[in-house]
Amino acid sequence: MTDAIPTAAPDRTGAEIELLSFVVGGQDYCVDIMSVREIRGGARATPLPHAPPYMRGVINLRGTVLPIMDLAARLDLGHEAETGRNVIIVVAIGGRTMGLVVDAVSDILSVAGQALQTPPDLPADNARSFVSALTIVEERMIRVLDLTALLPPAGEAAA
């Protein structure tokens, strides 16, 4: 967890990128839309024993086993209440596919590369630095999520 340097910094040259923005724990986040596979409604997940608390379990996604991560818990924003009205964003991270539980999906944003700012390095939040960039859309600060940093480290997954 000491590795807080964002590994997947978005391209900051002129090209526009498209981001899917969503709300989790009351905050605005977004991910590169290219890594999003689908968005689906919440479903009851089968819990995995000995899994970290932010792993909600696995669900059946058309015959494949999809691990579900409680994004709010992962980002230390408190546990997402299992209301059944949550949304699962299915993302591809590296070779894996994972579902992220969020409050609600907001919008698709087109952001120019220059509009992305490097997040400040604040030691108090150092351990939870999953944000690779910041941007402002309509007066709201949107955090660009670093998906690879979300994955439980190999040791943790195997523990």
Partner: protein, 688 residues
């Protein structure tokens, strides 16, 4: 090109198998001339294909091998033990060379050198004059080679030029040349040309006259007699000439029409007649399919099974009357699904023969390395198991075979002293037993020296010196990590990588291994494996509101535990008294972290899980729901390994249920079954 190359290597596998089969038949002494031919053809075909791909090492070795086999076929070389041994070694080297060629690894002449020399010696022994009558004796026969790689494939065939000129009477008697031409086509590929030179102008045409003739080029392994047989019924009703063309590709002009007297047929063709009756039995038609495609099909069928379960559940929920058409239709659907599933699993299944052949090589090499005379007997080679199981069985079985040769069988002197034949026997057999495949490895050696095993185990600190163990328990000590009885580390075994690795590998396949031994009579290892890795027979249970599947193979018995059977053991643990034995009680829900231990387990359902070392543990669950086949979905790829969990499956309601790995769970279990004593260090629930 890469594809042809790949198919050549697949072909090679089959040819090598045929080669092994043939040699084995020779060893058993039940061979005939055709066996030698088959063996020769296998080597020859490999050589031919290798030549086309410029695999020089392979070609040159195959050539020597082929020459030696040719001498055998010609009768200039007698088939003795030494020759047969060399041939077996030759087959081994040949398969090594094929593998090296396929993987592109460099060839190490150290392995093939001595065998090559031995082959050359055989060829030398076959005498110089061997070659001369060899040419006469060469019975060309069809090579069953689908590969069109080069001239080699057709070299054993004859090219016949047939001139067929029907007379008017042929038509008048109701015969039809077309049928005859078709019959010829069945003997081999034909090129037919119609000769219409004699066709008169239309106004002069007599419709009752026969004016057409045919020139036919037939490439066939058949003898001239077979060709004549085609024309048997029109004998005398036509002019028939059959020539055998020695210079195959060269187009010699067809013989003059007027030369009707057939030239004396070369003696060779008439001689080929009897040899023909021994043409290889036509192989069953097979299709090569990419394994990925089959796996996709297996997955899809898995989906159908799950879907069908869902459908049943919703029909159930809809409350339709039992005899409604929907229900009976669903019943049929269920039957069909099961049939499809079985058929698809059959596609992945392969006979264990290839595995057994590899083992016979291991026996040869292992016995040669330590100078014991060992003979391997195999049985049930046609038994089929999932391809992946076969592949993953090779390593553990190799290890076991080496053990059997090294430790299982005694030295020849000791055998004679015990009144046994000097040659040790190892029996490897495969068969089906109650929905599982059983592979048995038996030797007729000295059996397990239990005193020695016990001493070693104490020496290595695996058990207490004063422990009292039953014979079965002592035998099972062999499966403990770090156990080795070999007095000296030999080239073959005794490096401490022992039966525990074998057992782990077998368990990873969902199998079980057990051992039985009788002093002086030998040792038997029995491996029981599931037919397939894609489905599993499981018991569906619930604990703490979660549904889980426990593999049926791991469950010894199930029972409802009563207060009287529960005994407090430590401050945090409990045991169950089960027929005079105490079995540690594990709370499945607590071990998986789903709940804290219950206050009282009386009335809980309990699954008794048997461990391979003979000890048992009891898993407390809430309810036992059902017993059914479930489709295995891996967790490894999507999430990673979860301790105590083998895989996942999808239930009829669409929910995912985890499939338990009971042995893994037990080995890491804390055993805590009493909530009050949370501060006491956890006891392990295992006997050892």
């Amino acid at each position: 090109m890469a594809e042809i190359r790949a198919s050549f290597f697949i072909e090679c596998e089959e040819l090598l198998e045929a080669l092994q089969d043939g040699l084995q038949t020779m060893l058993d002494g039940t061979h005939d001339g055709e066996t030698v031919n088959t063996v020769f053809r296998a080597v020859h075909s490999i050589k031919g294909g290798a030549g086309a791909f410029g695999l020089d090492d392979l070609v040159s070795f195959a050539h020597s091998f082929e020459t030696a086999l040719d001498a055998l076929r010609a009768g200039t070389l007698a088939l003795g033990d030494a020759a047969l041994k060399t041939f077996f070694q030759g087959a081994d080297v040949l398969s090594d060379l094929v593998r090296e060629a396929r993987d592109g690894t460099a060839h190490d002449p150290a392995g093939s050198g001595p065998v090559l020399a031995a082959l050359d010696m055989l060829i030398g022994a076959a005498a110089v004059d061997g070659r001369a009558d060899d040419a006469m004796d060469f019975q060309p026969a069809m090579i069953a080679l689908d590969l069109d790689l080069g001239d080699d494939a057709t070299a054993a065939e004859h090219l016949y030029r047939i001139r067929f000129r029907p007379a008017a009477m042929l038509y008048a008697s109701g015969n039809e040349p077309l049928h005859l031409l078709r019959a010829l086509r069945e003997l081999g590929p034909v090129r037919t040309r119609c000769i219409e030179d004699d066709l008169p102008p239309l106004d002069a045409l007599d419709p009752e006259q026969a004016c057409l003739a045919w020139d036919i080029e037939l490439a066939a392994a058949a003898g001239e007699a077979d060709i004549r047989e085609v024309f048997e019924f029109v004998d005398g009703l036509c002019d028939l000439e059959i020539h055998e063309d020695e210079s195959m590709p060269a187009a010699t002009p067809p013989p003059d029409l007027t030369a009707l007297t057939p030239p004396a047929a070369p003696e060779q063709t008439t001689g080929a007649g009897p040899a023909m009756s021994a043409t290889p039995t036509t192989p069953r038609a097979t299709v090569r399919v990419d394994l990925d495609r089959i796996d996709r099909l297996v997955n899809l069928v898995g989906e159908i099974v799950i879907n069908q379960a869902m459908l049943s559940q919703s029909v159930e929920a809809a409350g339709l009357p039992p005899n409604s058409p929907v229900r009976s239709g669903l019943e049929e659907f269920l039957q069909l699904t099961r049939d499809i599933q079985d058929s698809v699993m059959m596609i992945r299944a392969q006979p264990v023969k290839s595995l057994f052949q590899r083992m016979s090589r291991i026996v040869r090499e292992a016995s040669a390395a330590i100078g014991k005379e060992v003979r391997l007997h195999t049985e049930g080679e046609a038994t089929e198991i999932d391809k992946t199981v076969i592949e993953r069985l090779a390593d553990p079985l190799t290890h076991m075979i080496r053990n059997a040769v090294d430790h299982g069988l005694e030295q020849a002197e000791a055998r004679s002293a015990a009144g046994k034949p000097r040659e040790g026997d190892i029996f490897l057999s495969a068969f089906h037993r109650s929905g599982r495949v059983v592979i048995e490895l038996r030797d007729d050696g000295a059996g397990i020296d239990r005193d020695k095993v016990f001493r070693k185990a104490v020496e290595r600190g695996l058990i207490e010196a004063e422990a009292r163990l039953s014979d079965g328990e002592i035998d099972n000590l062999l499966f403990l990590p770090g156990f080795s009885t070999a007095d000296a580390i030999s080239a073959l075994s005794g490096r401490g990588v022992g039966m525990d690795v074998v057992r782990t590998a077998i368990q990873a396949l969902g199998g079980r291994i057990s051992i039985a031994s009788e002093r002086g009579q030998g040792t038997t290892f029995t491996i029981s494996l599931p037919l397939t890795l894609a489905v599993l027979d499981g018991m569906v249970i619930t604990v703490a509101g979660e549904t889980l599947v426990v593999p049926l193979s791991a469950i010894h018995e199930t029972l409802a535990v009563t207060q009287a059977e529960l005994r407090a053991f430590g401050p945090a643990t409990q045991l169950i008294a089960l027929r005079e034995r105490f079995v540690p009680l594990l709370d499945l829900g607590a071990e998986l972290g789903y709940r804290t231990p219950l206050d009282d387990y009386a009335g809980s359902a309990v699954l008794v899980i048997g461990r391979e070392d003979g000890s048992t543990a009891a898993l407390a669950v809430d309810t036992i729901e059902d017993q059914r086949q479930v489709v295995i979905k891996g967790l490894q790829d999507s999430y990673g390994r979860v301790p105590g969990i083998a895989a996942a499956t999808i239930l009829g309601d669409g929910q995912i249920a985890l499939i338990l790995d009971p042995l893994d769970l037990i080995s890491t279990a804390t055993g805590r079954t009493r909530p009050a004593a949370a501060l006491v260090p956890a006891m392990t629930g295992t006997a050892l």
